[in-house]
């Protein structure tokens, strides 16, 4: 600590030992304590505190956990163990079904946390005036969004670790090795940014109840239409061509190419996801309403 800082610290509200000091001056402790000494905390500390708070609340929230943990895990276990739907080649063994399902379920995890969960929680934060109140705090808005992204990233990481562990336990053996892992990350990152921005866009423009309904509906529809548990080629050609442009379907199919078929990184899919990320972020920045 530098000398001028130290002098500034010797104000009336100096934290160490104000009680004794005040008692001798016969000033009530509280009055010296309230003496103005405003200032924002350092940015990294603010962002870390905000991200930690949001992550704690997210992990504590029952409905969110249903969405982010229970449903993806159940789908993975159920559809792997039982031959319910046509998962294409190799669909007659558990290992073959897991090889198809695991990439789709990882994609669903991104959808659940980055899009649905974030849209719903942010929508209600907006409705309850939390975003407004934070707008009057020292935390800048961009720092709030950074903290939210960190919170999504941490939650998603925990989710991916859990789902991969379950998949591996079911006999999943992803192809591609280390290169496959890197390729998967290159697909996951832009998809997460895109879905996160789409979630914020929805939360920042619709009423909270509408966001709740719409975000859940999108989630359910994309379980089946997003290449998660049903191969896109099972749909009529025209429909499949449309669906595969959606970020969730693009991510499912991209992960499948890398982790199931051992193909090199599909650059076209990466470009599509980056395009979604840029467009959705721009739209969210343009249309998001804080109140």
């Amino acid at each position: 600590m530098t000398a001028p800082d130290h002098r500034a610290d010797a104000g009336p509200g100096r934290a160490p030992g104000p009680a004794t000091q005040n008692r001798s001056d016969e000033v009530p402790a509280t009055e010296a304590e309230f003496a103005p000494r405003p200032g924002p905390a350092p940015l990294p500390r603010m962002i870390a505190a905000q991200a930690a708070l949001e992550t704690r609340m997210l992990l504590r929230h029952g409905e969110q956990l249903l969405l982010t943990v229970v449903i993806p895990t159940l789908l993975l276990v159920l559809f792997s163990a039982v031959d319910i739907i046509d998962t294409g080649d190799g669909g007659d063994t558990v290992a073959g079904r897991v090889a198809f399902l695991a990439p789709g379920i990882l994609s669903l995890a991104v959808l659940s946390t980055a899009f649905t969960g974030q849209a719903i929680s942010t929508g209600f934060e907006r409705r309850y005036g939390v975003l407004k109140r934070l707008g009057a705090s020292p935390l800048p808005r961009w720092a709030l969004l950074t903290a939210k992204s960190c919170s999504v990233a941490v939650t998603l990481l925990l989710q991916l670790v859990l789902l991969c562990a379950v998949a591996l336990a079911l006999g999943w053996s992803p192809t591609g090795g280390a290169a496959g892992l890197c390729a998967a990350l290159l697909l996951l990152v832009p998809a997460t940014v895109a879905l996160s921005a789409l979630g914020l866009l929805m939360a920042g423009t619709l009423r909270a109840e509408a966001t709740l309904a719409a975000a859940n509906l999108v989630f359910v529809l994309l379980i089946f239409g997003g290449g998660v548990v049903v191969p896109l080629e099972n749909f009529p050609d025209a429909v499949a061509r449309g669906l595969e442009l959606l970020p969730v379907a693009a991510l499912s199919e991209g992960l499948r190419e890398v982790l199931q078929q051992g193909a090199p990184l599909p650059w076209g899919t990466v470009a599509l996801l980056v395009g979604w990320a840029v467009a959705a972020t721009a739209a969210a920045a343009r249309f998001f309403r804080w109140e």
């Binding site: 509200g13 934290a15 009530p28 509280t30 009055e31 010296a32 304590e33 309230f34 003496a35 103005p36 000494r37 405003p38 200032g39 924002p40 905390a41 350092p42 500390r45 603010m46 505190a49 905000q50 708070l53 704690r56 609340m57 504590r60 929230h61 209600f124 934060e125 309850y128 005036g129 939390v130 407004k132 109140r133 707008g135 009057a136 705090s137 020292p138 935390l139 800048p140 109140e291």
Partner: protein, 307 residues
């Protein structure tokens, strides 16, 4: 810079569609003082305060807060002010003390959240999620969040609305401590006694304008006191009037009900009771009333100030 008032609002106008919420309002709040913005619901109090906080932009007029323009210099201003919204503003699932500790972490030199929570009685409900707190607990948490960062200026929007008397007292004590420590406080209220007991300066607001401003004593001063009593009908008013201090006058209306108006306070009461003793009159139900802000508001607007 330091001598400049904490808040200066001049000719503020704010419209929502066809409704004019604030219509040329002026307001000055000194540093280190409590300023009450007093008025009925819908008078424009919240809109005015939220413009000062930077939540709304003025359609016309000028707003300076700590020498800054809240609409333009928000980033510089926000760390220096504390804000208590009228309701909400807290995550429904966050625990009371968790939110207070978190808000403390956003500031460079915060108050000790544990001590502040203790002082405002938040420890008992410290682990309760916000949505399960009582209205009074939510109010006290909102107040704690506004002051934990040790601001120079706090805006409190209806800080005691819905509080029980004990919690209201704790809130008033805290506001007095803030003032003693040199913090400027701007609060909105529709409670007369709150403005009268707490504020150094009161701005009476109605219909989007400040219709009077001054210290409670200035606002109430220069008006006659009123003394009433009940006695047997037909007392000798001429004799009573002769015994009263200069400028005071007695009248009987209806029969047996006497009303004495005039400046003088205790002297007026003494004169009346001395006259009663001298004339063997048993005055019943003597009441005296000084003018309160409530009377001032009635005089200014012709309406009662009741929400």
């Amino acid at each position: 810079m330091r001598s400049e008032p904490a808040v200066v609002v001049a000719g503020l106008v704010k419209r929502y569609g066809d409704t004019t919420a604030v219509d040329g309002l002026d307001l000055t709040a000194a540093r280190g003082a409590v300023t009450a913005v007093l008025g009925p619901n819908g008078a424009g109090k919240t809109t005015t305060v939220e413009t000062c906080e930077g939540f709304r932009t003025a359609d016309a007029g000028e707003v300076r807060v700590l020498g800054l323009d809240p609409a333009r210099d928000g980033a510089a201003l926000r760390p220096r002010i504390g804000v208590m919204l009228q309701s909400g503003g807290v995550y429904p699932t966050v625990r009371a003390m968790e939110m207070l500790r978190h808000t403390a972490r956003l500031h460079a030199h915060p108050l000790d959240p544990e001590e502040l929570g203790e002082r405002l009685g938040l420890h008992a409900c410290g682990r309760t999620p916000y949505r399960r707190l009582s209205g009074g607990q939510q109010q006290r948490l909102a107040l704690a969040l506004a002051v934990v960062g040790r601001p120079e200026l706090v805006f409190l929007d209806e800080p005691t609305a819905g509080l029980d008397p004990q919690a209201r007292h704790a809130t008033w004590e805290l506001i007095r401590s803030l003032r003693a420590a040199g913090v400027a406080v701007v609060l909105t209220t529709h409670l007369m006694d709150e403005a009268e007991d707490l504020a150094d300066h009161v701005a009476v607001v109605d219909g989007g304008r400040a219709i009077a401003a001054g210290s409670p004593a200035e606002l109430c001063g220069g008006r006659d006191d009123v003394l009433r009593f009940v006695g047997e009908p037909g007392l000798d008013l001429a004799s009573l009037n002769a015994a009263l201090p200069a400028g005071a006058a007695a009248e009987e209306s209806p029969a047996g009900h006497y009303r004495v108006t005039g400046a003088g306070g205790p002297a007026l009461l003494a004169a009346v009771t001395a006259w009663c003793a001298a004339h063997d009159v048993l005055a019943d139900r003597i009441t005296t009333r000084r003018h309160s802000l409530e009377d001032i508001f009635l005089d200014l607007t012709g309406r009662e100030l009741r929400p």
